[in-house]
Amino acid sequence: MEYVSPEGLRLDGRRPMEMRQLRAELGAVSRADGSAVFEMGNTKVIAAVYGPREVQNRSQQINDKALIRCEYTMANFSTGDRMRKPKGDRRSTEISLVIRQTMEACIMTHLMPRSQIDIFVQVLQADGGTRSACINAATLALADAGIPMCDLVTSCSAGYLNSTPLLDLNYVEDSARGPDVTVGILPKLDKVTLLQMDAKLPMDIFENVMQLATEGCKAVANYIREVLLENTKQLENRRGV
């Protein structure tokens, strides 16, 4: 199948190195301490953060840092085929684990000992790159909850189809069973915290694709930073003196 036309356009009309439209909104869940909706094109996820709060299961309490928990779910209506998916299948357990460990790397857990932070992410519409969108939404929600972090984490994916590196794969491109590289970076430190990859790719091409995904992460980081700054200013202005 042709994923890149001779004119250099992808199926949805993007250029190979073009990202989908980003949209973020803070405060989507009023009960939560922090929440956000994040959209990458047609992929839409919602994240809510509760905490830091008292540890619910005493035996899990950690004496020198906060306990981070994460639950990732995919809404039944998020994909084309509306199947009832069993809760806690292997894929979502793994993604929950990956999101938790990624967020743990940037949350300053030692500042909130003996407490617990819960991150809930739910995919409302899946159109490729859900993992990245979830991480971006979680970052926004954590920042909204005022939880101290040493850096933001932003994520973006890239693939390699028709001998062309493609940024931010959508569902059709994703299901082509080609290589799919998901990268999560700490933009300020310029370090990679999350890196997942499937299928086969020679090493030098992999480096290019990873580089492309990293650029995508940086673009996401700029957008997220703008959103947060705008939000902070708004809150401060409204509050008044």
Binding site: T93, T193, L195, K200, M203
Partner: protein
């Protein structure tokens, strides 16, 4: 509370600091350098498709079995391939009995992704009748002892087991071309799987503030490290899968350096697996010659003949069995033990036990 304290590994402050400090002077607690792999031993069981891998103190058992099933609707002419992991508290008290924990699932997913997504096993050759019957390959990974770096050990065990696994040969016959014969191993030599390449997982740990890279971390080092990266590569230098699930951030240049080191290690490990498999195959060939030794066969000859005739009549049409779950427990098939056992396995190969009697009566009725 106390229970949890007793089950979790508590490292002393001294140990944590020492591991970091020693790494600054390029040495690890077990005397290795940062980029030394532990001793790797690969052993095989008496049956095809089983292997035992020992990596330092880590021990993993892999068992491959095959079964005839209906294929997935979206891939009608491909065999299926699944990985199951078993983390028993025997290997490490921190593993909880019952439901597989996060680490068990992550391990399964990493091995699965490395083998399946890179198409290491030729699944198309596992198709028997398109859309109706394919071989389903199942790998069971049992952790026997956790000495750290389970992923690499499990991956090697899976590769070794896959490369010695053999499935019974099947032929399709009958007027409508829908009749299936599963040939017992002593009638036709069972077939090995077609492996396109060997994706080998190599794990790195990042320890301390400077994120010093170590290869093949022990479970002490795993306790201390801030993050890890598992790269699955083959000998052609292709990257088949990478997993770095959060944790401390590292520079891109470090990741590329890891990949280059991993590629070298993957070459070493692949040749180790291949030589182990080769010696196993020669041994197997020797055993087979012994097996055909007439003296042992004489006593069973009469019964044996009966068996083989029975087998030939045991052909059955697929339509008849489409509702039943056709199964073939191949590890039994390959085991040439007593004739009683064989007769059982042959019947097993075409239908489940509880349907056995019913089926034979219905067959009789039909004829």
């Amino acid at each position: 509370m106390e229970q949890r304290l007793a089950n979790s590994l508590i490292m002393t402050v001294n140990e944590k600091k020492f591991i970091e400090n020693a790494l600054v002077s390029d040495i690890r607690v077990d005397g290795r350098r940062p980029f030394d792999y532990r001793n790797l031993t690969i052993r095989f069981g008496s049956e095809d498709g089983s292997s035992e891998v020992q990596l330092g103190k880590t021990q993993v058992l892999a068992f491959v079995t095959g079964q005839l099933v209906q294929p997935y609707r979206d891939r009608p002419n491909e065999g299926t391939f699944a990985i199951y992991t078993e983390f028993s508290p025997m290997a490490d008290p921190s593993f909880e009995p019952g439901r597989p924990g996060d680490s068990a699932i992550e391990l399964g997913r990493i091995v699965d992704r490395g083998l399946r997504e890179s198409r290491a096993v030729d699944t198309e050759s596992l198709c028997v009748i398109a859309g109706k019957l394919v071989w389903s390959i199942r790998i069971d990974l049992h952790i026997i002892d956790n000495g750290g770096n389970l992923v690499d050990a499990a991956n090697i065990a899976a590769l070794a087991a896959l490369s010695t696994f053999r499935r019974p040969e099947c032929t399709i016959g009958g007027e409508d071309g829908q009749e299936l014969t599963v040939h017992p191993p002593d009638v036709r030599e069972p077939l090995p799987l077609i492996m396109h390449h060997f994706p080998v997982a190599v794990t790195f740990g990042f320890i301390g503030k400077e994120n010093i890279v170590v290869i093949d971390p022990t479970h002490y080092e795993e306790e201390v490290m801030g993050g890890s990266l598992t790269a699955t590569l083959n000998t052609n230098g292709d990257v088949c899968a990478i997993q770095k699930a959060g944790g401390d951030g590292v520079l891109q240049s470090v990741i590329m350096q890891c990949l280059r080191i991993a590629s070298v290690k993957a070459g070493d490990i692949t040749s180790k697996i291949k030589s182990a498999v080769e010696s196993y195959n020669t041994q197997r060939a020797l055993r087979k010659i012994k097996r055909h030794n007439p003296s042992s066969a004489v006593s069973n000859a009469a019964k044996h003949n009966e068996e083989s005739t029975q087998v030939n009549t045991e052909t059955k049409s697929i339509q008849q069995s489409s509702d039943t779950n056709t199964s073939a427990s191949t590890h039994d098939v390959t085991n040439i033990g007593s004739p009683e056992q064989q007769s059982k396995t042959l019947k097993d190969a075409v239908k489940p036990k509880h349907k056995k009697r019913k089926k034979s009566t219905s067959n009789a009725n039909a004829s």
